[in-house]
């Protein structure tokens, strides 16, 4: 409300020269004329956040390692498929003892096998880990991208059009949310596979990857859809959207120019939380035996194997485990830093 006093003041201030006042208002900002966008400001805040920068470095390092897996194994001279313990070619360099346990200390760490070898088969753990990371990270990246895109589209449609469309999309979202996820991953994986591949035949690896992708995608897009929907719903009511409508802008233009640029930050924040959780889910699937199987190297499968060997060779779990903990921790800290940089008010 404009209070009576306000009105009074404005009445007396009418005498002020508007030109003069306006120029003085402007003068204070005249030094640097190139403005800094919210994105640039965010980047500056992020750069000042040591933890965030460090974690970003670690995360990038992991992705580089995963992408360069063939290069790294070329340096180490190993590969994830060769059974160094059983292959006659390597009989002159024994890696396993008579009980099938690694020779040497800490799971058979040696100059040839940097992280040791797998009990019984003698496969090289370093090669299996970097290739496994590659499988997991690429899969997670694919799944996350797919479900983010789906969530963004469904959320935008519901949020922007509202009304009946929003109501039904909301019910569909609720329906998918009502699935007990972990249970359905395990229950659905064989179903999806059996749907396309004759159960008597060997399932090709690419097909397992596809099945994982489909199942995680179908049961994972809802969170993103809800976040985007609520953001768009509030943006739609903002006056700058109305200003665009008054100017005659088409819905397409409003979505592209007015709404999309404003949902980038929630999307990015959600992405940094979604990716590590997807990696864990994929690892869980392989661990539960419905994800990747022998001999595909996979991070999750290493844990399954590690659990099997835990009593005789606890060291086998060490490298994959530490690698995973560091990665997930850094990724989540990175997510926090990204959020803080976008929204300085919520900060620590």
């Amino acid at each position: 409300m404009t209070s009576p006093t306000k009105a009074e003041d404005s009445g007396s201030a009418v005498a002020l020269d508007p030109e003069l006042a306006a120029t003085s208002e402007v003068a204070k900002g005249a030094k640097k004329l190139e403005g800094r966008s919210p994105g640039q400001l965010m980047w500056q805040r992020f750069k000042r956040d040591r933890t965030g920068m460090f974690c970003a470095g670690v995360v990038i390092f992991y992705f580089v390692v995963a992408l360069c897996a063939p290069l790294l194994t070329a340096i180490s001279g190993t590969n994830p498929y060769t059974l160094y313990g059983q292959d006659p070619t390597y009989a002159d360099q024994p890696v396993l003892d008579d009980f099938g346990l690694p020779l040497g200390y800490f799971g058979g760490v040696s100059a040839d096998h940097w992280f040791g070898v797998e009990p019984q088969y003698g496969r090289d753990l370093f090669a299996m880990l970097v290739y496994g990371m590659r499988t997991s990270l690429l899969m997670a990246l694919g799944v996350t991208t797919l479900l983010m895109l789906t969530g963004i589209i469904i959320g935008m449609v519901g949020g922007y059009f509202g009304g009946r469309t929003d109501y039904w999309l909301g019910r569909v979202t609720d329906f998918f949310l009502s699935f007990p996820q972990q249970l359905f991953f395990i229950a659905f994986m064989p179903v999806v596979t059996a749907f396309f591949v004759d159960p008597r035949e060997e399932t090709p690896t690419y097909f397992r990857a596809l099945a994982i992708l489909i199942v995680l995608w179908l049961l994972g897009w809802m969170g993103m859809a809800r976040i985007v929907r609520s953001t768009v719903l509030s943006l739609r009511e903002r006056e700058f959207v109305e200003a665009a409508k008054v100017a005659g802008a088409s819905p397409g233009r409003i979505v592209r120019k007015e709404i999309l640029p404003n949902i980038v930050s929630p999307i990015l924040i959600q992405f940094t939380y979604q990716l590590p959780s997807t990696i864990l889910t994929i690892a869980f699937l392989s661990f539960a035996g419905v994800g990747f199987v022998e001999p595909t190297p996979d991070w999750g499968r290493l844990f399954a194997a590690g659990a099997k060997y835990a009593e005789q060779d606890p060291a086998f779990m060490f490298f994959p485990g530490v690698a995973l903990v560091i990665f997930i921790l850094c990724f989540n800290l990175l997510g926090d830093s990204v959020r803080d940089a976008f929204d300085p008010k919520s900060g620590r």
Binding site: M1, T2, P4, T5, K6, A7, E8, D9, S10, G11, A13, V14, L16, P18, E19, A21, A22, T23, E25, V26, G29, A30, L33, E34, G35, R36, S37, P38, G39, R238, E239, F240, E242, A243, A244, K245, V246, A247, G248, A249, S250, R253, K257, E258, P261, N262
Partner: protein, 371 residues
């Protein structure tokens, strides 16, 4: 019927100004449905935000639209700019019926009707530069001014009193008053003929309000743009509007030229609004002015009172007010175009009464205690 009633209403066309009519609104109605019920949602009622409003705005004329919070001013503004679709009624712009025009049909008049918004913080997209913001209406309408759009943006920035070199800056780098100037520049980008300004200064600091009002006044006079200036008190509008319409609970209760409304108001609600404006000097000889304190809230627009909607707060209300809705007509002694909707209008004066009218029993009790 009341004896001082002379002329029947001419459907808002009793515009006293000789100028030609730019915008005409007849019986404009907007009911927001309320849905409820389970499991199937049904319409259980409606918010009667605007209910049968008649208005006219002449070419280059500025009309003030005044009323308390929640009485439907913004809704009226949004209906005129067609951000909302009316439930009933007719909107005629320059002889063309735009009541139910689609986005494409509206395209030719879109550039002529613009809007300035209340909140300078939410009316500018935080991710766009000032240049992009002001330029985009031109892009949408495919307008290529001489010398390019960028040159035009610079001119506009200069016109509203901002440094044209701030073209590449982002809204968060400006103060509230400067942002509102950017909003004005955006509205001017298309050379509009009518601007609906929805409380353009009420979110601003007191010291900035006058500057922005002055800017709008300058724009209105120099460019000859018609304005619908929405405000919730009469003080701001006074300097700006040639005609004023007073709204209460979705209806226009009194409309007339500035002089009539400020010096010869007839509707009790206008009297109440005026008495809340300390700055307005009603007439030179009357040192003491009437005091009316309007207490309590506007009744819910979901179930508005029967008959006259103001009767729950009116000190002159009688039985007739509950049963018969007062028509918006010209009362005897009023100038042409000064229409009032009241069965028992006040005297056309704003001089002090013998006794203050205090509308809220609780407030009255409180004052008696203190005295």
């Amino acid at each position: 019927m009341s004896e001082n009633l002379t002329l029947p209403a001419q459907q808002g066309s009793t515009d006293p100004t000789p100028t030609e009519t730019l915008l005409e609104v007849k019986g404009l109605t907007k009911h927001f449905p309320i849905y409820g019920g389970f499991p199937i949602k049904r319409k259980v009622g409606a918010v009667q935000a605007v209910d049968g409003v008649d208005l006219t705005v002449g070419v280059g004329e500025s009309l003030g639209l005044v009323g308390e919070s929640g009485c439907g001013k913004s809704t009226t503004g949004r209906l005129i700019t067609r951000l909302l679709a009316p439930t009933a009624g007719q909107i005629t712009y320059a002889g063309q019926d735009i009541t139910h025009a689609s986005r494409r049909q509206l395209a030719p008049v879109r550039s002529e009707i613009q809007m300035i918004f209340q909140d300078p913080y939410s009316s500018l997209n935080p991710r766009q530069t000032v240049g992009t913001i002001i330029k985009s209406p031109m892009e949408v309408n495919g307008i290529n001014p001489e010398g390019g759009r960028e040159k035009r943006v610079r001119e506009l920035l200069e016109l509203v009193g901002l440094n044209p070199e701030h073209y590449n800056r982002f809204p968060h780098e400006f103060s509230g008053g400067q942002r509102q100037r950017i909003g004005v520049a955006r509205a001017l980008a298309l050379n509009p003929k009518l601007i609906v300004a929805d409380e353009p200064v009420s979110a601003l600091d007191v010291s900035i309000q006058a500057q922005v009002v002055n800017l709008l006044q300058k724009v209105q006079q120099e460019l000859g743009i018609a304005f619908v200036f929405i405000a919730h008190d009469l003080a701001i509008v006074r300097h700006f509007s040639q005609r004023v319409a007073v709204m209460y609970l979705g209806k226009v209760v009194e409309v007339g030229d500035r002089d009539s409304i400020y010096n010869r108001p007839r509707h009790p609600y206008t009297h109440a609004l005026l008495s809340a404006v300390p700055e307005v000097e009603i007439s030179d000889e009357s040192e003491s002015r009437e005091r009316i304190r309007l207490a309590g809230d506007v009744p819910s627009p979901i179930h508005p009172p029967s008959g006259c909607r103001f009767r729950t707060r009116c000190w002159k209300a009688q039985d007739k007010c509950a049963t018969e809705e007062p028509p918006l007509v010209q009362l005897s002694g009023n100038r042409a175009g000064h229409l009032t909707a009241c069965h028992f209008p006040e005297d056309p004066t704003t001089e002090a009464r013998d006794e203050d009218v205090v509308l809220d029993p609780a407030l009255k009790a409180l004052e008696e205690d203190q005295d």
